[in-house]
């Protein structure tokens, strides 16, 4: 057994194909890391003056933290409203298309919902302040009158309807197609075997969905929601156009509050020097928020890993 015939037959050229391909794939992955790293460095360098500046020179005059935290809260509120609306509705729509709608119409319906993703954010912004906001004014008034004792519905309601609540709804509409289309694809991939197993045990359609479809799709749903959250956190133009911005206030039906992305978009054009650094620092903070949110999501997915659908 001097020479291994298998070894000599193992064509190096063929293996090279594999190496090249996996190398390219790896390179692509690394490129993403490098890009992200570069973005982070870029943000850090540009934001640096903010952190070394005299607190009195920062907008508001009380330092960067005092400047940023209200808009961080605002960002979180906007994203939370958006996800609270879009997640259940998005999953519902995805289920409707994958498991409820008649087959023939399901495809076109999915297409129709995907269309929502096609609409540019400027248009959402314009629609938001021209159509949605005025339409919501009576509802806000009703809320202020009947549920005004709850701080988030404290009146007097905005007369233009350009409130955090409206911004949240616009964001919800914007992230809906993201959540829907990803979840739908995954729901459609649920193994028929498992769906049939549930049905054969005498499950109703909804029980089949909870026993076979949702558990299988859970990690995918979480990813979809994260993707939606990314969009909701980072959306600039729509919020900038829809929201009557202002200081942090608990009421969602009055003008007030601000999100980081909108703060950047609104002030960037006229900003220079320290103000520019401040805005970029705000971008950095947004970046960190995404980081934290994703860590939490990862944690959730990892906990269910052992029971993931892949087998």
């Amino acid at each position: 057994m001097t020479t291994n015939a298998l070894k000599s037959k193992s064509s190096t050229s063929g293996q090279a194909g594999d190496k090249i391909f996996s190398g390219t794939a790896l390179a692509a992955g690394v490129l993403i890391l490098v890009t992200l790293f570069a973005v982070a460095i870029f943000l850090l360098i540009q934001a640096l003056p903010t952190f070394v500046a005299d607190p009195a020179d920062i907008s508001g005059g009380e330092g960067f933290f005092a400047y940023i935290w209200p808009i961080v809260i605002g960002t979180v509120i906007a994203a939370a409203i958006a996800l609270l609306i879009a997640t259940p509705v998005g999953i519902g729509v995805a289920l409707f298309i994958s498991h409820f709608a008649p087959r023939k119409v399901a495809g076109p319906l999915g297409y129709v919902i995907d269309l929502l993703a096609a609409i540019p954010s400027v248009i959402y912004g314009a629609w938001g302040y021209m159509v949605l906001a005025p339409a919501l004014v009576p509802i806000f008034e009703w809320l202020a009158a009947n549920l005004g004792f709850i701080p988030i519905f404290a009146g007097p309601a905005s007369q233009t309807g350009k409130t955090m609540f409206t911004a949240g709804i616009v964001l919800a509409v914007m992230v809906l197609p993201i959540i829907t289309s990803l979840s739908r694809e995954i729901f459609l991939q649920t193994p028929k075997l498992h769906e049939e197993a549930a049905l054969a045990l005498g499950a109703t359609r909804w029980e089949m969905i909870t026993t076979a479809v949702i558990p299988f799709a859970r990690p995918g749903i979480i990813s979809a929601v994260m993707l939606g959250l990314g969009r909701a956190l980072g959306e600039t133009m729509a919020v900038a156009l829809v929201l009557s911005t202002g200081n942090l206030i608990p009421s969602l039906i009055k003008s007030g509050n601000q999100t980081i992305a909108a703060e950047i978009a609104l002030n960037f054009p006229e900003a220079f020097g320290l103000r520019l650094a401040e805005l970029i620092a705000a971008g950095l903070v947004l970046f960190l928020i995404t980081l934290i949110v994703n860590m939490i999501a990862r944690g959730i997915i990892a906990r269910h890993k052992e029971f993931s659908g892949a087998n």
Partner: protein, 347 residues
């Protein structure tokens, strides 16, 4: 095709080549003068077929930032260069630095939407109190006393301000501070004072459309853009001045050159608290900022040609036709031409 206004296009092509300037001139800056700038570019290109000018209305700050970084050959700005910026300009422009030319003048209207009311008189203190939300009803005594002939409804006043940082805001609050300093005790800035929580919108078109759709709303916006909204007559001296291009031009005449400015620099400090009748003091002056020297002759020629076109009668006329602003006076135009002709090739 690149020729939407077919008739005009073919004509201009022939008249061109004579001047002989070529190349692309890049400007970045104020959005206020965008409409005028489009008119200038079109007019300039009609005379100089081989030249191109591109202008991005990113905002005054962005424009000055880009200009100072060497990313644009000129900037449009609602504020002249600050001393430290003027200092920095020497890095890109050479030892002579940069200079400001007033190119676009426009009055800022205080515009409102109140059913059945066309015109209202207010003095500076009243305006300041309204925008500070100290006066919250249209039939408040302070307003009523100045408008005995107008029937004012019991409507709430909705103040609408800009939510983006803006030259319009800066000029408006500069006026409030100067003319009603005891009421308006905020720093002058392009950002609306954050203590005043009110409705707001992005851009001039944003505040105008929000105001137009909300009864009882009041805002401040470039006069040319107020559309169907009514405007406030502002008390200057003993009289109420109705907003107009002429009244705005008059404010420019009473303005004083910024002290310590270089000879070729035409930066102006407006006298907001003027008492001279017929003057409308809430005026926005938008500048073109040029280097005193550029690296090659072609650029110098191009800049001179464009700069001169803008301040020429023809240039100011086209802008006015397009943007509805006020023209600069002949005196300023003359001084500006001298400054522009002083641009040289860097040594």
């Amino acid at each position: 095709s690149d020729n939407p206004t077919a008739a005009a296009g073919s004509e201009s092509a022939s008249s061109s080549a004579a001047s002989g300037v070529t190349g692309t001139l890049t400007g970045i800056g104020a959005s206020s003068q965008n409409s005028a700038m489009e008119a200038w570019i079109t007019g300039f290109k009609a005379e100089n077929a081989d030249a191109n000018v591109q202008y991005s209305p990113d905002g005054s700050g962005a424009g000055r930032e880009a200009f100072l970084a060497g990313g644009a050959q000129f900037a449009g700005s609602d504020a002249y260069l600050k001393p430290e910026e003027a200092e920095k300009a020497k890095e890109v422009c050479g030892p002579e630095g940069a200079f400001n030319i007033p190119a676009y003048v426009s009055p800022i209207a205080i515009a409102f939407n109140l059913e059945g009311v066309e015109e209202i008189n207010m003095d500076a203190a009243t305006i300041a109190k309204v925008f500070k939300k100290e006066i919250t009803k249209w039939n408040d005594e302070a307003i009523a006393s100045q408008n005995p002939d107008v029937e004012l409804p019991d409507t709430a006043i909705t103040v609408v301000h800009r939510n983006d940082e803006s030259g319009t805001t800066e000029n408006f609050v500069e006026y409030l501070k100067a003319a009603a300093g005891d009421v308006w005790n905020y720093d002058v800035s392009g950002d609306w004072p954050s203590d005043i929580q009110s409705e707001n919108a992005k851009g001039t078109s944003g505040v105008v459309s929000t105001t137009t759709s909300t009864d009882g709303a009041i805002t401040y916006a470039d006069f040319s853009a107020v559309g169907k909204l009514s405007t406030v007559n502002v008390k200057v001296g003993e009289e109420y001045t109705k907003i107009s291009a002429e009244a705005a031009a008059k404010a420019l005449e009473t303005a004083t050159p910024v002290k310590d400015a270089a000879e070729n620099d035409l930066a102006l400090d407006l006298e907001r608290d003027t008492t001279e009748a017929g003057t409308y003091p809430i005026v926005l002056v938008s500048y073109h900022i040029f280097c005193s020297s550029y690296k090659d002759q072609a650029t110098v020629d191009l800049v001179k040609a464009f700069g001169n076109y803008v301040i020429s009668d023809a240039g100011q006329k086209t802008a006015q036709d397009s943007a509805g602003n006020a023209p600069i006076s002949a005196a300023i135009s003359e001084k500006a031409a001298k400054s522009i002709d002083g641009i040289t090739v860097a040594k």
